[in-house]
């Protein structure tokens, strides 16, 4: 039996003291924003009127009965599912590829990160050059091989797909690096043991790598979904929410309602809904990938 002496009280409190400024910072900035936004969603705050009466859940009722909001909600779910699905697949492929790189791994890691460093507006411009108009790179290539021009940004479904691709391009690098960090944490002896036992590469991937990096998978999926629920700049600059309202995801809808129509409390209600979606999905992912 070993007796472990409990550290003195001051030593036990030290870590919390170091964390305290960050906690204050988060509560001060994020907490205040969320709290005041949630509170605002219970009032009618409309810059056109001086009065701000308490309206309980009227803003939410109004949203749920609004065709524009319903459309944005569905579009957002499709957008997030697409971005997370494609983004995760790409991230996994890239992380495995980098993991296999014996030489220049650092170079490729840095290279993978480049799209993440490009701003949303610049990404939108790049994708407009790629997919927009007769002179767009993709259509130019298609024209060279005799394929008729595809109206990527004029077709509702294709425009949504292009927006998803633009979003994936900018968010998957961080997910790839998270997965890569998980892969690096695997004890190399496990691979050697599996090799001795004659396990196939697919078996190693499925039975050894995936379970071990499960928490990192959870974190990268959380990042991908969080970034996709909140996407605003790429969509606004690439399609403006169109054609029709095919790419008007919730964040764009929130911007239009809150900042163009000056209906602040309605915008706040959308913010609360986006926050709830983020929280629910993140909690589900944490629970699912808890080791």
């Amino acid at each position: 039996m070993t007796l472990t002496r409990e550290p003195p009280r001051r030593q036990r409190l030290e870590p919390y003291l170091f964390v305290l400024p960050a906690v204050f910072f988060v509560i001060g900035i994020l907490g205040y924003g969320v709290f005041s936004g949630t509170l605002m969603s219970l009032f009618r705050v409309d810059l056109r009127y001086a009065e701000t009466p308490f309206v309980w859940l009227d803003n939410y009722r109004m949203l749920l009965s609004d065709g524009g909001f319903q459309n944005s909600f569905v579009r957002t779910l499709v957008f997030v599912a697409g971005s997370v699905g494609i983004g995760f697949l790409l991230a996994l492929l890239f992380s495995l590829a980098i993991f296999r790189c014996r030489r220049s791994a650092h170079f490729f890691k840095a290279l993978t990160l480049v799209p993440f460093l490009v701003s949303g507006i610049a990404t939108a411009v790049i994708f407009r050059f790629l997919f927009g108009g007769a002179a767009g790179v993709i259509n130019h290539v298609l024209d060279m091989v005799g394929v008729e021009r595809i109206l990527f940004l004029a077709h509702p479904d294709l425009a949504l797909l292009v927006t998803i691709l633009a979003q994936v391009w900018t968010i998957f690098p961080l997910a790839a690096l998270l997965l890569h960090a998980g892969l690096l944490s695997i004890d190399p002896d496990l691979f050697d043991a599996a090799k001795v036992d004659g396990a196939s590469a697919f078996y190693v991937f499925l039975r050894i790598m995936m379970p071990i990096i499960a928490p990192m998978i959870g974190v990268s999926l959380m990042w991908l979904s969080f970034a996709s629920f909140n996407v605003f700049d790429i969509t606004l600059a690439l399609t403006g929410g169109g054609p029709g309202r095919a790419t008007e995801v919730l964040a764009v809808y929130m911007y239009n309602v809150g900042f163009r129509q000056l209906r602040y409390s309605l915008g706040s209600s959308v913010m609360v809904i986006i926050l709830m979606l983020n929280v629910v999905v993140s909690m589900a992912l944490l629970r699912l990938f808890k080791r």
């Binding site: 927009g132 109206l151 940004l153 169109g242 309202r245 129509q261």
Partner: protein, 427 residues
């Protein structure tokens, strides 16, 4: 009685010097006027040097708050008793701001301006004050942007095909079909007869511009009456240009940049709703009256409804905050911004001035020859009617335009009725 008179005399004698001193102090007191400009380019190049020379006691603190953010930022600051004395924003916000008593009634100060210098005051074109006059009749600022919107066309191409300037909407469509069939334009290279904004980026100015040219009207509350001949024609226009392949098939994703770029780059023969500052950019690539020209004021109108056509102008007036403590100094600042030399300098460099003398100035006309053809348009342009929920009106108009572009064979009458119901629900 005598004693009382003596007492009054003594009191007056004692107080008079201090009263005069106070009056003198008030006029000499250093005053700082804060002005929010909507764009850096609106700030005069001399940065108020001429104003300081004439009124040494006035200091101007110039800041740039984008036009798009200025109204909401102003409301926040105003609520806290802060903010600028003068700020620049879209004219569409005036009723909202005035409804909340956030703007200062400068009417009496403009009377003072007129009394002091009637010639200078009368040189302002009507939109200068109309754009800053509220529905309550209060003059709450001044607009110094005076360029009307116009439709431009490729004159060289039209001449080659023997076409004349399109005066009606039917002319526009027919000219488009002639151009399409002429072989002059190559759709494979992205060349189409007409370029327009079909995207969701704020495009309501151009929808409204066309609506008014077609003779569109409004309800008393400022809602456009879409379920009308003009409204149906507006929808038909968007449907026809798509159906007849007169525009790029991806026009539904186009913004102002693509529209202008198509014309300047030689990929379109006609574009509407062009401001004078854009024409300046055109002039660098194409020569006016040789390669391009503007259609006469009030065109293209609806066939048989020329008299119903109206011209409206979206403006960015300078508004005066009701929080200002120095309306007299504010008047001097507004006079400075409206000064013929100062506004000419800004006008030549950026956006045209709302002054008749500017539009008739030989230097201006030499540099911008199209202005001679657009003075009429500028003089008759009006302030667009504004609904209390104007931004929601805009969203509905954009939805309507995009549905028309996506459904070129749908019944325009039914579409007009559907969107009218949505508009009416805003009242």
């Amino acid at each position: 009685m005598k004693n009382r008179a003596i007492l009054l005399f003594v009191v007056f004698t004692l107080l008079a010097p201090s009263l005069f001193a106070a009056g003198a102090r008030q006029s000499d007191e250093q005053v700082t006027v804060t002005v929010w400009f909507g764009r850096e380019d609106f700030i005069p190049r001399d940065r108020f040097a001429a104003l300081s020379e004439r009124y040494p006691h006035i200091t101007v603190q110039a800041e740039v708050v984008p036009l798009e953010d200025a109204a909401t930022e102003f409301m926040r600051y105003h609520a806290a008793g802060l903010g600028p004395d003068v700020f620049q924003t879209f004219q569409t916000m005036v009723e909202v701001l005035d409804g909340r008593n956030m703007l200062y009634d400068m009417s009496s100060y403009f009377d003072q301006w007129y009394q002091e210098d009637p010639e200078d005051f009368n040189d302002l074109i009507p939109i200068a004050l109309d754009a800053a006059t509220t529905s309550r009749g209060r003059i709450v600022g001044i607009n110094m942007v005076g360029g009307a919107l116009g439709m431009v066309y490729r004159k060289d191409w039209f001449d080659r095909l023997g076409l004349s300037a399109p005066l009606t909407q039917d002319d526009v469509i027919n000219a488009g079909i002639r151009l399409r069939d002429s072989g002059l334009l190559s759709p494979a290279q992205g060349q189409y007869p007409i370029a327009l904004i079909g995207g969701r980026q704020p495009s309501e100015i151009w929808i409204k511009d066309r609506f008014w040219l077609l003779g569109g009207s409004h309800t008393d509350s400022g809602l456009p009456i879409i379920d009308s001949d003009a409204g149906v024609q507006l929808i038909e226009f968007y449907q026809t240009v798509m159906r007849e392949r007169l525009v790029d098939p991806e026009v539904i994703a186009w913004g102002a940049g693509q529209k202008r770029g198509a014309f300047i780059g030689g990929s379109a023969a006609m574009i509407e709703g062009i401001g004078w500052h854009v024409m300046t950019a055109m002039q660098q690539e194409l020569q006016y009256r040789v390669n391009w020209a503007v259609v006469p004021a009030g065109s293209p109108y609806r066939e048989g409804a020329k008299d119903e056509a109206s011209l409206y102008m979206d403006t960015y007036p300078y508004y005066v905050s009701s929080n200002t403590q120095h309306p007299e100094a504010v008047l001097r600042v507004l006079q400075y911004l409206a000064d013929s030399e100062i506004s000419k300098e800004v006008g030549l460099r950026y956006q045209p001035a709302a002054r008749l003398s500017f539009m008739q100035d030989s230097e201006v006309l030499q540099r911008s020859p199209w202005i001679a053809d657009m003075i009429d348009a500028a003089m008759i342009s009006q302030v667009p009617p504004i609904h209390a929920r104007q931004d929601e009106v805009h969203v509905i108009l954009i939805d309507m335009m995009q549905e028309a572009l996506q459904n070129p064979n749908a019944d325009p009458g039914q579409m007009a009725a559907k969107y009218q119901r949505r508009l009416n629900a805003l009242d």
